[in-house]
């Protein structure tokens, strides 16, 4: 089991999500964050003051996967998040010691395996 932490451009998020969905990685956590990875700063102006924006808005995805899904998930993130310019982000992979699914108490491999029947419930639908 591994934890994939992917830092990506916010405007690429939709493409990354659909790429992950295609390789059947559906459980993830998303955080909006600020980061800096060597790209040059954008310059902005507020009431005549010129400002160098040191940190850029990024999105952080955290995905716990069993080893069988690891390469597919990394590949999906990498290809969908890439623009070719500095600032596309990074993917970190770390070992996972233990995973527990809170609802059932399942542990480890069975806790990161997606459920077979994902039923979609539409909120507020009268139909």
């Amino acid at each position: 089991m591994k934890l994939i932490t992917a830092i990506i451009r916010p405007e690429k998020l939709n493409e990354v999500l659909s790429a992950l969905y295609e390789v059947e990685v559906r459980g993830l956590t998303l955080t909006r964050c600020l980061g800096h990875g060597g790209e040059m700063e954008a310059v902005e102006t507020y009431r005549g003051s010129t400002v160098k924006m040191g940190l850029v808005e990024k999105v952080k995805l955290e995905i716990g996967v069993s080893d069988a899904f690891l390469d597919a998930a990394i590949y999906a993130c990498m290809h969908s998040a890439r623009t070719g310019e500095v600032g596309d982000g990074k993917i970190f992979v770390t070992d996972l010691e233990k995973v527990v699914r809170i609802r059932t108490g399942e542990q480890d491999e069975s806790a990161v395996t997606p459920l077979a029947d994902l039923s979609v419930e539409v909120q507020g639908s009268a139909a």
Binding site: E11, N14, L34, H36, E39, M40, E41, A42, V43, E44, T45, Y46, S49, T50, V51, K52, M53, G54, L55, E57, V86, G124, S125, A126, A127
Partner: protein
């Protein structure tokens, strides 16, 4: 001596009550443009919020100046049936003397606030991808080439006025006119790159509600001010401006529940605007119960047009055509149905006046054809000089930083102030371009 006596007579003809109301009404109409900025700004994605709001705000400046210098003369100076003359160029001869019962200058400013918001309305169709400079060029030329002539046709004694077209506060001049220009602009600029592939959600629904509320408030000046006096007609238009949007809102919420199971806030805001648009041409011609009927009826076509719009190839980002074009059209035609002599003096289809109904349709069609063709020509002309569209990267990261050098919701963390001295020696830096690209 005789001149001096005339002047005295003119000053005497200015009514204090009318002037007081029209000064307030003018300020109310001016507020509609910032209100529109909030309405549109809330509907777009966060990365385009400032750009979209600036499209409305910039109109306050550009169109305001153009109106006083040239536009007002083309619309209201004595001229031909199709366009006004040049007598009022740079406001020559437009002073404190009476125009009706209010000072001529006040009439000019009141009409200027209409021109400003009409230009700003178009921005909703091209939001999130049009270049700001191309947009400014377009609304500048559009105000002189399209708005001023159409305004002259209907309100400046032009051919539609002589034919007897009824347009109390601008269903044809403002809303149909802007709605068609919006369709043409959306078509020529092309759809947003994400259109049809990603959901593009409103980033701030409370802004949308705030904008709709302030538009309603300002619209009392728009419609009741179009009586150009503090009298019973103004009160009628005022009451109708209260009632038609109320009916449109009720019908809209009902349709929303039927279709989606919930009364959406964005839907409510849109319903209010459609009701306001529809009552605009009719405000001083129909009774209050007819206004309720008109508002309720007008909500239906616009509702279904918006519900269907996601399936179109045409990307009218903020539904200008469905809300303003279609709403204005329905309102203008229904004016020819509900007009009752007991209220505004004119009669419509319900009173057996088929001719009025036909004249209304001719007026709407004339505005559609003229506005469509000239808007198309203007945009094609501008595109030969500057690109109409933002480049792909700007569209991807949002237009706020590339076009305006600012973000709507800047976090400020890690931002470093650059001393003016450091910039002094350097060549001018295009905003939003990474420093690396500037240096090389």
């Amino acid at each position: 001596m005789e001149e001096a006596v005339d002047k005295l007579a003119d000053v005497a003809a200015v009514s204090g009550a009318d002037t007081a109301w029209m000064i307030v009404a003018t300020a109310l109409v001016l507020l509609m443009t910032p209100a529109l900025a909030f309405f549109y700004g809330g509907l777009v994605r966060q990365k385009n919020a400032l750009n979209t709001m600036m499209m409305s705000f910039a109109s306050l400046g550009v169109v305001g100046v153009l109106w006083a210098t040239v536009g007002y003369s083309l619309a209201f100076a004595p001229g031909t049936d199709f366009i006004g003359g040049l007598d009022y160029l740079f406001l020559r001869g437009v002073g404190m003397e009476a125009q009706g019962t209010i000072p001529h200058l006040l009439f000019m400013v009141f009409q200027g606030t209409f021109a400003i918001i009409t230009a700003a309305l178009i921005s909703g169709a091209v939001a999130e991808r049009m270049r700001f400079d191309a947009y400014l060029a377009f609304i500048s030329l559009w105000i002189l080439g399209v708005y001023a002539p159409v305004c002259h046709w209907v309100w400046g004694g032009g051919w539609l006025a002589k034919m007897g077209a009824l347009d109390f506060a601008g269903g044809t001049v403002v809303h149909v006119n802007a709605g068609i220009a919006a369709v043409v602009a959306a078509r020529i600029v092309g759809p947003r790159r994400d259109y049809g592939r990603q959901a593009m959600l409103p980033h701030n629904v409370p802004f949308v509600l705030l904008g709709a509320g302030l538009l309603w408030f300002g619209w009392f000046g728009f419609n009741a001010g179009s009586a150009l006096a503090a009298d019973g007609l103004a009160a009628l238009a005022f009451a109708n401006t209260m009632l038609a949007p109320a009916a449109a809102l009720v019908v809209w919420m009902f349709l929303d529940v039927r279709a989606t199971g919930s009364t959406t806030a964005v839907g409510a805001a849109t319903g209010i605007v459609v009701g306001l648009v529809a009552i605009t041409p009719a405000a001083g011609f129909i009774g209050p119960m007819a206004a309720i009927a008109l508002g309720g009826l007008a909500a239906v076509p616009s509702y279904f047009a918006i519900a269907k719009s996601q399936t179109h190839k045409l990307d009218d980002s903020l539904e200008v055509a469905a809300a303003h074009g279609l709403g204005g059209l329905v309102g203008a035609v229904l004016t020819g149905v509900f007009a009752a002599s007991a209220w505004g003096g004119a009669t419509g289809l319900l009173a057996g006046n088929f001719k009025q109904f036909a004249v209304q349709i001719v007026a709407v069609l004339a505005a559609m054809v003229y506005s469509g063709l000239v808007s198309w020509a203007l945009l094609k002309g501008i595109s030969m000089v500057i690109p109409l569209r933002a480049d792909e990267k700007s569209e991807r990261i949002g237009l706020d930083v590339p076009m305006h050098g600012e973000e709507a919701y800047s976090h400020g963390d890690g931002a470093v102030l650059i001393a003016p001295e450091a910039l002094a020696g350097a060549s001018p830096v295009p905003l939003g371009v990474p420093a690396s690209e500037q240096a090389v």
